[in-house]
Symmetry: C3
Subunit: 214 residues, 3 copies
Amino acid sequence: MDIQTAITFCLEMIGTVAFAASGAMVGAGCSMDIFGVCVLGVVTAVGGGIIRDIVLGILPPTVFLNSKYALAAVITSCLVFFAYYMKKMEPGQHSSQAFERILLIMDSIGLGIFTVMGVNTGIRQGYGSNVFLLVFVGTITGVGGGLLRDMMAGVPPYIFVRHIYACASIVGAIVCVWMQQFGAVWAMVVGSCVVVLIRYLAAHYRWNLPKLPR
Amino acid sequence: MDIQTAITFCLEMIGTVAFAASGAMVGAGCSMDIFGVCVLGVVTAVGGGIIRDIVLGILPPTVFLNSKYALAAVITSCLVFFAYYMKKMEPGQHSSQAFERILLIMDSIGLGIFTVMGVNTGIRQGYGSNVFLLVFVGTITGVGGGLLRDMMAGVPPYIFVRHIYACASIVGAIVCVWMQQFGAVWAMVVGSCVVVLIRYLAAHYRWNLPKLPR
Amino acid sequence: MDIQTAITFCLEMIGTVAFAASGAMVGAGCSMDIFGVCVLGVVTAVGGGIIRDIVLGILPPTVFLNSKYALAAVITSCLVFFAYYMKKMEPGQHSSQAFERILLIMDSIGLGIFTVMGVNTGIRQGYGSNVFLLVFVGTITGVGGGLLRDMMAGVPPYIFVRHIYACASIVGAIVCVWMQQFGAVWAMVVGSCVVVLIRYLAAHYRWNLPKLPR
């Protein structure tokens, strides 16, 4: 396994675990049973990649041919479920602020990594010269999992209500495409850092896009 | 038409009618007009198969090339609509328990048959040795239609709130894959019976998976 | 560019702008920020075409290879956003009836054009003899964008609650298929006019399909 393959694998695994945790947390927050929590975790973790593969014509999607990612998502979801289960047993421990913070971090990491993975897959499929397609595919891969998570859990999609959510993904995808000239590994690392940074700063300083008054 | 093709066709038709009836019942329960009831019936009946075919790269999906299934779903939906229409005309006949029971039976039969159909299609496409893909595809085919139905009708998806819903589908898919050694027909029949049985017992005895306290 | 290509392009552009405007209006009506308004506009404008291309196996979907349509949708959405922004600044100008009327017109035009575009794409892909597939693909292309819009915005889908919505699309698709014998351009123009006419008359005279009493 060469260095690029190894880094790609590590990043994908981290992104999978982070997104699975975010999905499982949303599910646990809705008082779902353990199966619902796992489904939501898996859908969040692999949903973006499945949409990307369908769009690029990679059928069946990679995730179905390689059970490692789904397995990692299931294990992560079960751990999240039991962490909640333990915590809820002790009364007076409902700290929804800590919940929001961890969810934000997990979701940001997943968003960053999956955005550059989407760009990367597009390049590997031979669309390296179509910047528009690459950015679109990167953004879909990044926001797809979270969008499915929110639609299935019946909560208002992050993408519409959160600060600068998909913008961060788009900017990161553009950076990742532009950085290809410095090598694929650098493009992936810098691209995903840009996403996480924008997303985190936006949430922390409560940056807002222009909004219509009610 | 050999015996396997005939049994496959019969099972698929029964599953289509059962799922169409479940979709139409949900639509009628939401006071939709006749068109909405038909759309929901058709989506429930063919939705899982379309998702499966997209995932397996069978494009256009089989259901579009063969109008028999969509036609059966439309006729079933119309019959359900008129049954409701007749019944609502007589006052004092709202038996929501009977409704729940018939919906449960229809949904269970559809779930069972579509799960094994999904596994079967995966094998026919040449993925017979990839157990993970087969189980995934079987489960998606089984739960996909009902999930689309609930999302479109704006009711909380069965898969998240019902007892052991998707678990039944997963177990049935595994049984169906394992039974292939005894012949495809047996695998289909036993696999779908296992799904219906688990689903029915779970609903009847109110089996529950561990759930987080509110 | 021959005459058919030119007319196809013009119709597609008009449909894209109309659907983008309808999506952006729904987003603005939900007090989304500018990005949410753009996403909803783009999804409404290109969603139906993406579903159609996936179903027909045209991967990646055409819209990803040609940024003109997405760009037109983004510009339209921004214009809608600023129109709302200006208007909301002046108090006492909330005319929800005008809103409903413009939304209806935009949605009708988009529905009509995208229906015939769907039929057209199906014929170009070589399914000219499969009437069932052509009508299905035309209807999906027509109603897909609006369905995604309503599901993402969390409002009850038009297709289930509005008068004769998808029926208009189905009738238009059938007319468009039947008119192919008189040439593709005529089929497109007449087909989309039929959709707009049925949809408009249905809304104006409040035609209703049989509905279940509550």
